[in-house]
Symmetry: C2
Subunit: 455 residues, 2 copies
C-alpha cells in the first residue's frame, strides 16, 4: 500500500502547448493565412460584452484546457452535450467554439482547409486552421443543452436556466457560424500589470512546484477578494494531503469578463497576494495564479473544467465549497460535491468524476461551511463547531454590501492588508466594484498587450 | 483510480477476542487451573509501581493489540528485538511478557502445559496456558535492546536510555522468569467511573463507527488534559480524509501507571469529553475512548503500537505531532514521523511502516507545530503562519506550570469547560497533578473492579 498521492498527469495524458515562440516562424505562419479576422467580444442583447474568445484561445494554447486543441467540430460539441466527453474520450464539460456571423464569413471568404489569421487589439495574435465550418441552428437550444434542465438533470438542476445566468447568455448569444479547427498563438501577448506577476501556465506551474519541492498542492478557486472566511477555507482544506498536509496552496483566479458588482480582477489577484505578503499563509506555501476564462457558472460542469485546469497545472487536490462557481439558485447547493463524490448520471457520469474511464485524477476536498463562532472565538467549521445558536454567518454578498456602504470591515472579516488592496483599486476605478463603465473598458483593454509584428 | 480510503482490516488480518463471556464456562476454565497467581504491580528500585501486567492482558484479550495472543516466547521476543516482527511476520514494537520471580515459580510449581489462574484484586480474572517457561538473563540488556542505542539506531536515538526513561525502567525491572502462553479473560472486569463511559474495545468501536456512518476516522493520541493547542491539532489534522475531511475524530487516551506531575487519568478522559460537551468539536464528530497500557515512551516504537491499537479500533488515519509519546531528549523530535514517512532501517524498516510487508494500513497525518499568533489572531499552524517574530508558543509543560501556580488560564489556553474538569479532580485528589500518593493508590485501585466468581 502506498499512501503517497502522485502528481497527476495532465488531462488527456500530455500538455498541449500551442504557442510559437520563434517570431520568424510566427511571421511565416501569419503570412500563409488566407484571411485575417479581428477578434471581438461576444455581446448580449443590450450590447454588453459577455465573453471574449481570445481567453479561450489563450487557455487552450497554453495548455490549461488540455487536451483541447482548438474550436470544436459539430460532432465533438454534440458528444459533449450528450456525454460530456471529447471525441478522444476524455471528459470535458463545455462546447468551445470560434463563432462568427454569416456576414463575417462572407467577408472572409474562407473555406475548409484555409488558415485564418486572428488579430487582437489590432495585432497579429493567433492562427486557426479551418477543419470544418458548421452552423449553430438554435443558440438558445445550445444554451439549454449546455447546462441542462430540471427535467433532464433532476439530480442537480432546480430551475430552468435563463437570461440571468451569465453562462447561458454566452451560449445564447453565439454567432451562428462555427469555424472549427486548431489554434496556434503566433505572437505571444504580454500581460498588463498586475497580471504579469501571476501568469503560471501549466508548464511553468509544474516546474515551479518542482522547484519549491511541493509534492502535493491543493487548488483554491476564486473570483473574489479573499475575506477571512476564504482564508480559512484555504488553510483548513489544505490540511488534507497524504502523509502530511498539502505542501502548497495554489490560488487560481478565473480572470475574464466581469459583471457589475464583481470585484475588479486587479483587486482579486492582488488581494490574494496580500494574504501571503501579510504572512497569513506564508509565501513558501502559497502561490497566486490565474486562468483566462469567461466563467460559465455551471456549478458541477464548471467544477469539471476547474479540475481539468488545476490538474493540468500540477495540483494533486482541489477544494470545493458550497455553491461552487454558481450564480442564483439554478443548481443544488452541493451539486459540485455530488459530481466529485458519486457522479451525476444525467450528465454522463454514473460514478464520481475521478472514478470514470478517461476521468480526472486530481482529488476533491469537499468542504462544508465556515462561520464565525464567538464561543470558539474563531472562524469555525460547520462539521466541527457545535454552537449553531451562537454562530455568525457572513456571506460574500454581506461583505460586499458592507464595503459598498463605505464601512471599514472589522479584522475578523478582512485582513487589513487585503482591505488596502480593495481601497487601492477603489481609488483607481472610483468604485469598489465593477460598474458598467469598468465592464466595457475592460473588454477593450483586456488583460494583455501584443507586440508589433510586421507581416 | 479510487480516492476512497478503506477502513483497514485489523492488524494481522483479524481481531483477537479472548474474553469468555459465558460465566459457567469461565468458572469451568478457572477450576481446571493447576495453580493461581495474584497479579501484582512491577516496581522500580524504590518500590514505586511502574507497570501492571493486567493492562497488557486486557489490551491483548480485548483485541487492541491484535494479533498478539499472550505472553511471548523467547524466540518471539528475540525476533521483535531484531526485526520488530512477531513470529507470524506482522510488525510489532515491544516484547510483552508475563514475568514472575524464581520464588514465585517455585511456589506455583507449574510447568509447561499447565493452565494458570490469574487473580486481580483478589478475584479470578484470566487464565494463562503455559507454552514455554524461559528466563530473562539480563533485564538491563533487554531494556537497552528494546529501545535501542545511539550507536545501533543513529537515525533517531540521540542519547542512551537510562533510569529516567519510564519504559526502560519497566523492562529493567522485569522479574526473570517468563511464563509464555495465551491469555483468556474468564471474569470480565467492570470499569470504575468515569472510565466505564469511555470503554470502546475494537469490536465495539468498529460497530460504533458503522452506526455513526463514519467511513473515515482519525485518531488523536493523548495522555493530557487537552489545552486549546491540542484541540486545534485535533480539529486541523482531521481535515485530512479522502474526498472530504475525516468523518470522525477518535481520542484514544493511554490509561495506565502514572508519573508524578501527570494529570490524573480521570481528568484526562473527562477533559477530552468536555471538548465535545462544550461544542468545540461537536459530539457527532468526536468520541473519547481509552486503552489500558503503561506507556513505554518509545516515540517511533510507541507510535507503531499506537498505530496498531487505532487500526484495530477501526481508524483510517492517525495524527502524529512533534515528540510523539516521548519523554526527555532521547529521540529525535520527529522520529515518529520518520518511521511513518520513510522508515527507520535500524529498527528493521527500510521503508515507511505502511509500505513494508505485513506492515500497518492506518495512514499517518504528520503534523508540525501550533502556536498562538496575535497577528492572525488564532492558534496558527507553523507551516502556514508567517509571523515567526510575533508568535507565542505555549507547551504542555508551560501550561502545567501555570495550573500548578493556581493561575486561572486564559481562554486562549484552556476552554473553561475543560478547566472545570481539572478543578473538579484537583478538589477530589487535593492536587491538580499526580503525586506519589495518587500513583501508589491508583495502582491498588486500578481502573476496574471484578465481579465475585466462586470456583
Amino acid at each position: 500500500m502506498s499512501v503517497l498521492i502522485p502528481r497527476p498527469a495532465p488531462h488527456g495524458g500530455r500538455l498541449e502547448e500551442r504557442v510559437v515562440h520563434d517570431r520568424e516562424l510566427g511571421k511565416k505562419l501569419a503570412k500563409g493565412c488566407a484571411a485575417s479576422f479581428d477578434i471581438r467580444a461576444t455581446l448580449d442583447e443590450n450590447g454588453v460584452p459577455v465573453r471574449n474568445v481570445y481567453r479561450e484561445i489563450m487557455s487552450i494554447c497554453y495548455g490549461f484546457f488540455s487536451p483541447v486543441e482548438g474550436s470544436m467540430k459539430k460532432a465533438e460539441v454534440e458528444r459533449i452535450l450528450k456525454e460530456r466527453r471529447l471525441l478522444n474520450e476524455w471528459v470535458f464539460p463545455y462546447p468551445l467554439v470560434f463563432d462568427i456571423t454569416e456576414e463575417e464569413l462572407k467577408d472572409l471568404g474562407v473555406t475548409v482547409g484555409d488558415r485564418l489569421l486572428l488579430r487582437l487589439k489590432g495585432k497579429p495574435f493567433a492562427i486557426l486552421d479551418i477543419d470544418e465550418i458548421w452552423r449553430i441552428d438554435d443558440p438558445e437550444d445550445l444554451a439549454h443543452r449546455t447546462f441542462g434542465t430540471p427535467e433532464a438533470n433532476p439530480e442537480v438542476v432546480n430551475e430552468p436556466f435563463n437570461a440571468k445566468m451569465p453562462g447561458w447568455v454566452i451560449y445564447k448569444n453565439l454567432s451562428p457560424v462555427v469555424l472549427a479547427g486548431k489554434y496556434r498563438i503566433i505572437n505571444e501577448p504580454t500581460f498588463l500589470p498586475p497580471f504579469d506577476k501571476f501568469w503560471y501556465p501549466p508548464l511553468k506551474s509544474r516546474a515551479e512546484y518542482d522547484r519549491r519541492g511541493w509534492r502535493t498542492v491543493i487548488n483554491h478557486q476564486t473570483r473574489n477578494v479573499p475575506h477571512v472566511g476564504h482564508e480559512f477555507l484555504m488553510k483548513d482544506a489544505a490540511y488534507t494531503g497524504d502523509l502530511e498536509p498539502c505542501h502548497g496552496i495554489q490560488v487560481n483566479a478565473i480572470i475574464g469578463v466581469k459583471r457589475p458588482g464583481d470585484y475588479p480582477d486587479e483587486a482579486i489577484i492582488e488581494g490574494h497576494a496580500a494574504v501571503n505578503e501579510g504572512g497569513y499563509i506564508k509565501p513558501e506555501r502559497h502561490i497566486v495564479t490565474f486562468t483566462l476564462w469567461d466563467m460559465r457558472y455551471g456549478n458541477p460542469l464548471e467544477s469539471m473544467l476547474h479540475g481539468i485546469i488545476r490538474q493540468n497545472m500540477g495540483c494533486t487536490h482541489h477544494m470545493f465549497g458550497r455553491d461552487h462557481a454558481a450564480v442564483g439558485e439554478y443548481y443544488d447547493m452541493y451539486a459540485t460535491q455530488t459530481l466529485w463524490s458519486k457522479g451525476i448520471p444525467s450528465y454522463g457520469f454514473p460514478d464520481a468524476i475521478t472514478e470514470v474511464p478517461y476521468g480526472l485524477h486530481i482529488r476533491p476536498q469537499n468542504m462544508r461551511e465556515f462561520w464565525y463562532c464567538p464561543v470558539c472565538n474563531e472562524i469555525a467549521y460547520s462539521e466541527c463547531c457545535g454552537h449553531t445558536k451562537e454562530k455568525q454567518k457572513f456571506s460574500g454578498s454581506f461583505v460586499r454590501g458592507m464595503v459598498a456602504e463605505g464601512l471599514f470591515p472589522p479584522k475578523v472579516i478582512f485582513r487589513p492588508e487585503v482591505y488596502k488592496v480593495i481601497v487601492k483599486w477603489w481609488k483607481h476605478f472610483d468604485y469598489p466594484f465593477c460598474n458598467p463603465k469598468y465592464v466595457k473598458e475592460k473588454e477593450q483593454r483586456l488583460e494583455v498587450d501584443l507586440p508589433d509584428m510586421d507581416i
